[in-house]
Symmetry: C2
Subunit: 327 residues, 2 copies
Amino acid sequence: MDRASLDSLLLLVRPDLEQVNRVILEHMESRVELIPQLAGHIIAAGGKRLRPMLTLASARLCGYGGPRHVHLAACVEFIHTATLLHDDVVDESDLRRGIATANTVWGNQASVLVGDFLFSRAFQLMVADGSLDVLGILSNASAVIAEGEVLQLLTTNDTETTEATYLEVIGAKTAALFAAACRVGAVVAERPEAEADALDRYGRALGIAFQLVDDALDYSARQATLGKSIGDDFKEGKITLPVVLAFNRGDDAERAFWRRCLEQTDQRDGDLDRALSLMTKHGALNDTIDRARKYGDEARTALEIFPNSPFKAAMGDVVDFCIQRAY
Amino acid sequence: MDRASLDSLLLLVRPDLEQVNRVILEHMESRVELIPQLAGHIIAAGGKRLRPMLTLASARLCGYGGPRHVHLAACVEFIHTATLLHDDVVDESDLRRGIATANTVWGNQASVLVGDFLFSRAFQLMVADGSLDVLGILSNASAVIAEGEVLQLLTTNDTETTEATYLEVIGAKTAALFAAACRVGAVVAERPEAEADALDRYGRALGIAFQLVDDALDYSARQATLGKSIGDDFKEGKITLPVVLAFNRGDDAERAFWRRCLEQTDQRDGDLDRALSLMTKHGALNDTIDRARKYGDEARTALEIFPNSPFKAAMGDVVDFCIQRAY
């Protein structure tokens, strides 16, 4: 049911998306074989290609009939993949404790450098495309993403993090690229600023909804069915909205629990279960998803200036997909 | 004496370079305070600003009288700084220019992310400048640098690395940015392709000479007076030309020694001393510097198409500076 709601878009953009995949494969080539190997591993490992699909859909929604959106969708995916690779970097403190194996270190090194390579490739592709507007949109987004990631690093282990700061983090680290991916569609179609702004708002609200659901899923049984482990954020002391809400609504004993687990990262058997039951007690997951739904509505509203079309309908379905992942 | 040979250039570009420093300070600002803190740490730690000086000098050599070269020189320094930050993660270095590296102070993750931020800022500055040619030059250079760093990673601990592969590594990881930094000068001055190519050749040859000397210095007593430790490359199993030459010229026992130290990274007290004496025995450091001198000559030759001028003379002095650092 939730997969179905992404399928309507997939059906519409499939030929374009196949071209995007070809452009990606072609441009991650290098005479240094490790680069396509490592990049291929993460790119093929197959995200949903949600971001490049948004670029394709936005361009088509704006009536674009040319070939440029394919290359720009590939740029968006390269930037996304680069940030994923850099996200995976293990902190130096872990290495110092002698925990990391030589393999982990090698993975760290390669992740950073291949991320840099893909990031550079994205800019080479944009230069070949030739639009300074697009280069501006995606270089701005890249700077904002990096800022968001640093801010997230600073909120890690900090249970005093506010909902406002959390929203700033996900607005930057996730929603900025969603917004840029969509705005680029209006720009290649040479549509008026009002449409570019509308697509930007759609992407931004969708990105926030997507991340809110992602952060709820990390504490949700639903996660297991997606083949992912649960409680990763908890283990890392990452402060997401479910934690912010449960912490703020908790009594002194509960706050002491959160501080021990997330600030001092002193975690014991049964702590994750207690965290989950505190979240249930305070409705933290439901309220996180409620907020996601609100942003989803905002995304849908942003599309109202466009006339009805299969693309508009499919982009509405993407909103459903992002929310329904939670269930 | 060696410092003096950089001073002639410094004297000529000082007003421009002060503006570059202002642009750098301004554009590393972020509402996320850790970013200017960490970036400031590495940027202020004060490299020689060699690469941005080359952009400034190249533009002036080409008769450029406008303000754009200042911003593009800042881009070059941002890209360089981003690669340093990512390099320090990769190399697990503790010291750079005699002070603690950013990753030891703030952690690997912050170094990676601030590197990403500076890299994005470089592209934002280029977009504001508005030249697709410049964007092309520096995005190409960035991709090549990343390839070179990955290739270096693959040659680490590999004593079979050839001189050709070593030259490919330093041509990519170091010389590509030197070449791009110089080429950009001709492009802003809107000079013919022949001059852009000449400056590219100058920068490339200079970059290789610079790196050859750097790699010789890592095994040289001269290093200590620069506030750097000696033998870092040896400890990391990095295969540089002094090692390639000593290994190729060594007998079986010597090769076994190099393999134990650099491939198995099984290093004991006295090993670095033995490595140094083997390099002396085989003239590995002298020959490395001889090759640097040859590339230095190539750099100087590339400048011949330009009429004599104080800038041309100063850029010749930079070649001397890069070579004389060895002594």
